[in-house]
Amino acid sequence: MLSRTAFRATFENVRLAIERAMTTLEPLHLQPEEASSIELVLAEALNNVVEHAYAPGDEGHIKLVLRHGRAGLLIEIRDNGRPMPNGRAPLGDNPKDYARADDLPEGGFGWFLIRELARDLVYDRENGENFLIFRMAIGRR
């Protein structure tokens, strides 16, 4: 196991957790492209929990586990917040070609980015806990 952390669900803590995670990954000597994908997918998945799983003022927590094996980097995220819509991880909308500036979306890219960057994502609800696990394909050494 590379690391296991738990923290209160705030945007600031997500930032710190990502910073720690990226430090933990340094010994893997990732390509910059790989590292930035991991950083982005962590931000999207963890910020989603802060934003959507917990109501404002909730004393919510997030658990983050990073594991490394031949199949790449396995990222596990758990929280006790509300379940995903319809009990499934959102598919994420594909970006469109935007005709008018007024139509531009200011949000809703989170799950699209996660789906693009992550592989083999499984979402599950277990004993009132959201369980999200996915894989980042990183260079095999």
Partner: protein
């Protein structure tokens, strides 16, 4: 949120002096941009050369600022680092903005366009 504005040849250049525009600072970034773009320049160039990381909240904030400027005013982007560039490309927002390698190129480009 550290950001500073300067006028260059009819353009307002705003430089973000933070390594990250993410969910933790997206609101502050938007507020800062609204304050700084009170300035009436028609063309605003956002210098992102110090920003190593931008997530979808940061992207949403940039889009929001652009929409807030309204018609007749333009938000151009300059100096995007690779990780920031990737987010714009993946979400196809790279086709929505004029993107320049650095502020000088942006000012030249702006001069040409106007």
């Amino acid at each position: 949120m550290k950001m500073s504005a300067s006028e260059k040849q009819d353009c307002l250049v705003i430089k973000v002096d933070e390594p990250r525009i993410d969910a933790a600072v997206a609101v502050r970034f938007k507020d800062g941009m609204r304050d700084l773009t009170e300035h009436p320049a028609r063309r605003v160039i956002l210098d992102l050369s110090s920003v190593d990381f931008l997530d979808s909240s940061g992207l949403g904030a940039v889009v929001s600022v652009m929409k807030h400027l309204g018609r007749g005013r333009q938000l151009d982007l300059a100096g995007m680092t690779p990780a920031v560039d990737k987010v714009f490309r993946m979400t196809r927002m790279d086709s929505v903005f004029d993107i320049y390698p650095d502020t000088n190129a942006a000012i030249d480009g702006a001069a040409h366009a106007s």
